[in-house]
Symmetry: C2
Subunit: 263 residues, 2 copies
DNA sequence: TTTCATTAATCATCATACTATTGGCACTGC
DNA sequence: GCAGTGCCAATAGTATGATGATTAATGAAA
């Protein structure tokens, strides 16, 4: 039971990385939630205008009002919609949406990703992870260090198999966030997960080789063990630069491929 | 209608700063949501153990099962609980909670705040706001600059009236986040709001004088106008250091006051 | 034109019935 | 004694009809 959190994180990661496929036991509620959530985030439903009234809308989706109401309440909790009597339910302006919510992130960065999207993810990661690393160098617990070590081992063992590499990579970064000892920072795990999900999807058909990446990750742990905040931050900046560059290259390659194909 | 977003932000800010008081038209749903959310976050209900079944529990709160179910679904959407047939509903481990959600933040940092709590808020702000400032120096739109200017004017006009100062202060920082042109960063507005709410509550009975603070804020805008990312970041670091120092001092003073009183 | 009561549309809430899922238990067969 | 199997009951999930509360829009009256 020592590494229960580690195993939980891994299984969670695996499930997330498995893709959008229907998770076992996906309830009706979740199906509709994802459906409507996605249609809002993907701009099918634009902010400002009313949604159909609950009666018709639930019928349109083939579910009861109960289910639809619960979905609307959850969406309201994430800032996407607002329901008022007489006026009906409407989509709120984008600035109210909680993009850091795991579901919203998935809807936003789900199907296909542009270079612009990737940029915004990395801008935030570049602000967070170096700061988290600096705190980690001062606060990491032995258990967390064990978790990170294990993740590194699995990364090494993965060779150039992108699919095997992805999960321990994610665990590494999530462990880093937890090491900061700051729950608020820990809640940004979903962000990292989304970024890695995108990286994984893109580099899947365009493997870049992870040997260099592993060395950089090892450098991070090394600096944490040395309790050197500045060096840990610096190592993470280098790591993120590389990761973003990889994603950028993959996006270009993919775009080029499409252009070639369309000729 | 030019500054619609600005006015919206201000009214929103005012409502938030007005305190926890019953907002007009607070629905039953919200009352129960806050009640249960708070009792989870404040550790009255500890992670792992089951919640009463929906039937009894709704009766205990004097509401129908429908309302309670909607509340549970929303809490599940924020990562606080998980519901499964047969097993019932249970509180999830803290690491799953989305602390960056506006409601969760309010529950977490609501009633009274320790120095530890304030620290975690400022750790994250210190990672985010300088980064946002650097981006703002490259991307701020004329309209956003106008908003920030207006906020500064109101701050100047407030003198040492803490209550009048708070709202434009909040608007200033939220505008800064929006200037980054990154929606993910914009979603951290709730974080800033919570931090300022705490500052406001503490410094209310221990006014520190805001003249110096205004000068620092002006410096930030000056650097944004000069399109100087590094200088903007640096100015924000100074600003945050001062703000955190103020909070720390206020907490100490308050603690000391209590000690004296208890004699 | 302004004011203000009326109205109708919509969400909010409740109560109840039925379905689906699943952990645990008893029973079976070896 | 043990493993496997199938049934049972507790619980959340879903559906539906009725009623209350809120408020934008309407239109009559001042």
């Amino acid at each position: 039971m020592k590494n229960a959190t580690f195993e939980a994180a891994l299984s969670q990661a695996a499930a997330a990385l498995a893709g959008t496929g229907t998770r076992k036991g996906e309830r009706l509620h979740d199906r509709i939630l994802n459906k409507i959530g996605q249609s809002i985030v993907s701009r099918e439903l634009t902010p400002g205008d009313q949604l159909p009234n609950a009666e018709e809308w639930s019928a349109a989706h083939g579910v009861s009002r109960t289910v639809l109401r619960e979905v609307i309440k959850v969406l309201a909790g994430k800032g996407l919609v607002e329901a008022r009597p007489r006026t009906g339910t409407c989509v709120r302006p984008r600035s109210f949406w909680n993009f850091l919510d795991a579901d919203v992130l998935l809807w936003r960065y789900g199907p296909d990703t542009t270079a612009e999207d990737a940029r915004s993810l990395f801008e935030l990661r570049r602000a967070i992870e170096p700061a988290a690393g600096a705190l980690a160098a001062q606060r990491a617990t032995p258990e967390q260090i064990g978790d990170m070590r294990k993740a590194l081992e699995q990364m090494r063992a993965s060779g150039d198999d992108g699919a095997r590499f992805a999960v321990p990579d994610l665990v590494f970064h999530q462990t880093l966030l937890r090491m900061s000892g700051n729950e608020l920072i820990g809640s940004l795990a979903a962000l990292t997960e989304t970024a890695l999900l995108i990286s994984f999807r893109l580099t899947d058909d365009n493997p870049a080789g992870q040997a260099h990446s592993v060395a950089l990750h090892e450098q991070v742990l090394h600096n944490i063990l040395a309790a050197d905040p500045a060096a840990t931050s610096a190592a993470l900046v280098v790591l993120l630069d590389l990761a973003e560059e990889d994603v950028r290259r993959s996006l270009e390659a993919r775009l080029l491929g499409q252009t070639v194909l369309s000729h």
